[in-house]
């Protein structure tokens, strides 16, 4: 047997292996973009649950209590997170633009939201406050977000 014959055989084996490899790389690559979006979406979901729980905590603590919260990840230029407490249906609406994509999460608030308030987190200003305020004339406790 000459050497050339073995190498020809070998070459084809390599081609077939390469084909499989290319396929694998292709699949991995297509997975990545999904994973990146999923990563941000999950972080925002956790953040929305965190805000909901904080809201309850502040409401339970009562008049004058303030909690300072921060954006869950470092915001780049152009990114923002908008948090709105809506008295309609008692909802916490969160809209975020991260890396050019818009994300939206909605959480039901377990405590009453009596007045609409909203805050926008930007790279320059990534923190906000959740405050409880007692209104004596109405006898009701207001919770609101502010920067």
């Amino acid at each position: 047997m000459k050497r050339g014959q073995i190498s020809l055989d070998f070459l084809f084996a390599v081609t077939l292996i390469a084909l499989t490899m290319v396929n694998l790389v292709y699949i991995a690559n297509s997975e990545r973009s999904h994973a990146e979006t999923f990563d941000t979406a999950t972080k925002l979901k956790i953040f929305s649950v965190d805000v909901r729980d904080s809201l309850t905590k502040v409401y339970a603590a009562g008049n004058g209590f303030t909690l300072r919260k921060e954006a869950p990840f470092t915001l780049q230029g152009g990114d923002y997170i908008n948090i709105t407490l809506s008295p309609v249906d008692n909802l916490i609406n969160m809209t975020a633009v991260v890396g050019g994509e818009t994300y939206r999460v909605v959480q039901k608030s377990p405590v009453p939201i009596l007045r609409e308030s909203s805050v926008k987190l930007t790279p320059e200003n990534p923190e906000f406050y959740i405050t409880a305020q007692y209104n004596e004339t109405e006898g009701r406790l207001y919770v609101r977000v502010s920067s």
């Binding site: 000459k2 014959q5 020809l8 055989d9 084809f12 077939l16 084909l19 499989t20 396929n23 292709y26 699949i27 297509s30 997975e31 999904h34 979006t37 999923f38 979406a41 999950t42 925002l44 979901k45 994509e101 818009t102 994300y103 939206r104 999460v105 909605v106 959480q107 039901k108």
Partner: protein
Amino acid sequence: MLFITAVLLTGILLVVPPYLNENRTTSVVVYVRNSASNACAYLNTGVVVNGSEYTPLNKIIEADNYTYGGFQVAGISSTESAGGITVNVRIAYTSSGLPKESLQGNITAFIKNDLVSKTNIKVNNGKLYLNGKELEINVSVVRR
């Protein structure tokens, strides 16, 4: 020498097409599986991402009030015939109050779009084709 080369080449001609064929079927199942599990993960997060590729799934999330739906790929199977490849995907979920038909339709739409945009699968007259072979995707949903 020439004879041996001829034998080798014939052997290669015999081996390569079935290999590629097998490779293709496996790839298709993997692609569909990936798309389906991506769809489930997306639905479970309950976060709406504005992008045309997510439009079908966003409808489901909005109908489900942005909550966790417990979506999960319960099984996948494929059958190959002369006409093409059929892939059956079974998806289980726990959330109540979601109409089955629209679930099925929206998830199928997402998987098809995802396949067309991420792989070399082409769409023609609403049917999927991979290298000229027809590809059929059936999604069935079951509530646990």
